[in-house]
């Protein structure tokens, strides 16, 4: 286990949004430090407005930090790179192209010949269970199907890490749980590195092998946990959420993140 290779390092990251449009200065992140190993499934848990999206945007290269750095394979990241795929909170599928074309967007812009990419696109289409909707338009899909399309679109591009920003937050409970199963299966079977933001304690517990908790704004990392509930769910133990161990950790997380107070 200790042999794992570091993929990304977040070091002394601070972010302050400038006062703009009459607003005041906002300190969003304060000295965030995090090591991400290859094959990790990290769930970041924190209250709304604590800076989770800001952290993800910096890691993606979409936003520049005020100070501190993000390293990837030892090199400081500068701007966006397709090595770091992003799935946004609301799926940003392009309504002018079909589901399949959306998934093929990455290979298409790199001008990968269709003969090369077609097989892979079909593979991911099937993986997320949308083979019957290949030629549908995104606006003909349900919310869950849209988010699955966005996930496939990210995966098909062979990223080194997938950054997901509350990807299931807008879905109903039933769809959300089937999406969680889907992403867990993908993780167990192909072991990509996943960084997933959530404000749902159970989601974090049921998915990640590591859980990182963040404080109220300005966001800091309060505590990290290692868990294996997700492995047990994968092995068919759906009742793990009723185990004492789970309940205890859940209680601790809730207190840390401050939901207990509300």
């Amino acid at each position: 286990m200790n042999e794992k290779k570091i993929l990304m390092t977040v070091r002394n990251l601070c972010l302050t949004y400038d006062a703009s449009l009459g607003g005041s200065e906002t300190e969003a992140l304060e000295d965030v430090n995090l090591d991400i190993y290859e094959g990790d499934f990290i769930c970041v848990l924190g209250p709304s407005g604590c800076g989770k999206t800001s952290l993800l945007n910096i890691m993606a290269g979409l936003v520049s930090a005020t100070s501190g750095s993000v390293l990837m394979n030892g090199k400081r990241i500068r701007g966006v790179d397709r090595e770091r795929a992003v799935v946004f909170q609301t799926p940003t599928l392009y309504p002018w192209i079909s589901v399949k074309k959306n998934i093929a967007f990455g290979p298409d812009i790199r001008q990968v010949p269709e003969s090369e990419s077609a097989e892979k696109v079909d593979h991911y289409l099937k993986l997320v269970g949308l083979e019957d909707f290949a030629d549908s338009k995104p606006y003909e899909l349900s919310g869950g199907m849209r988010q699955r399309t966005a996930l496939a679109r990210a995966l098909v591009n062979d990223p080194s890490i997938i950054l997901l920003d509350e990807p299931f937050g807008a879905l109903d409970a039933f769809t959300r749980s089937s999406m969680q199963d889907l992403i867990r299966n993908i993780w167990k079977e192909t072991s990509p590195t996943i960084f997933l933001i959530t404000h749902d304690v159970d989601e974090a517990l049921m998915l990640g092998n590591r859980i990182v908790t963040m404080s109220q704004r300005p966001g800091r990392i309060i505590k990290e946990f290692e868990t294996s509930f997700t492995d047990r769910v994968f092995d068919g133990d759906e009742d793990v959420r009723y185990s004492q161990e789970y309940i205890n950790m859940r209680k601790e997380l809730l207190t840390l993140v401050g939901y207990g107070k509300a």
């Binding site: 940003t92 002018w96 990455g106 812009i109 790199r110």
Partner: protein
Amino acid sequence: MKKVRAVIAQTKPWVISVISMCIILLAWIVISVLGIASMRTVPPIQSVIYSLYSISTEGYKGSTLLGHIGASFFRLFTAFFLAILTAVPLGLLSGQIRKVRSALEPVIEFIRPLPPLAYYTVLVLWMGIGNGSKIMLLYIACFTPIYVACVSAVSKIPASYIDTARTLGAGRRQIFKRVILPYTAPDIFTGIRTSMGHGYSTLVAAEMVAAASGMGWMVLDASNWLRSDVVFAGIIVMGITGILIDKILRELEKRLVPWKGKL
């Protein structure tokens, strides 16, 4: 009373449109047959139909109806296509680059509320009374709606649409081609339709000032000679062509940007 209401509720909207057209037509026929109105104010329907026929075959002052329509269309569509070719790139550029916008906007905002005929006189001074000044006038009339639509469409693009493309590896050019252009296309199309309507009404006005051909000129000239039948015939033709052009544009819109309203 209840029955009437039920019948109205069941009637399709287009049936109601047809009925209202029929009523107007019927009123016109009644007036024509009874001869209540003078020939000049409301020409009888048969004489309008006859003059439609005669201007189609023999023509009106030198060219046939088709010739007049052709002259008008040449001016209108030359200006229209020039406007699309320039306003779309300039509008999209202005939407993205603040400095381009700052340079163009004052001029456009100044011209936009002016009645076209006000600056037409200036254009005539500069370019003469030929087709040049007319095409220029129509060009200006067509340009602004497209430009304004492009600028506002670009500013509406959610950042996440562009961010997604970037994280998938798209560069500036590809973002433009694969995200900005398709995203703005429905709004651009709306702008194009507005622009056509604007150009069409300006066309008729322009031909009424200095011309010797075109639908607008034909109507004005006929009214100077008290030929109400030709005036009516001309107006009917202008109305129908206007509707046809809009129908064609709507059909094109449906085919080219089916994602309109789905963004």
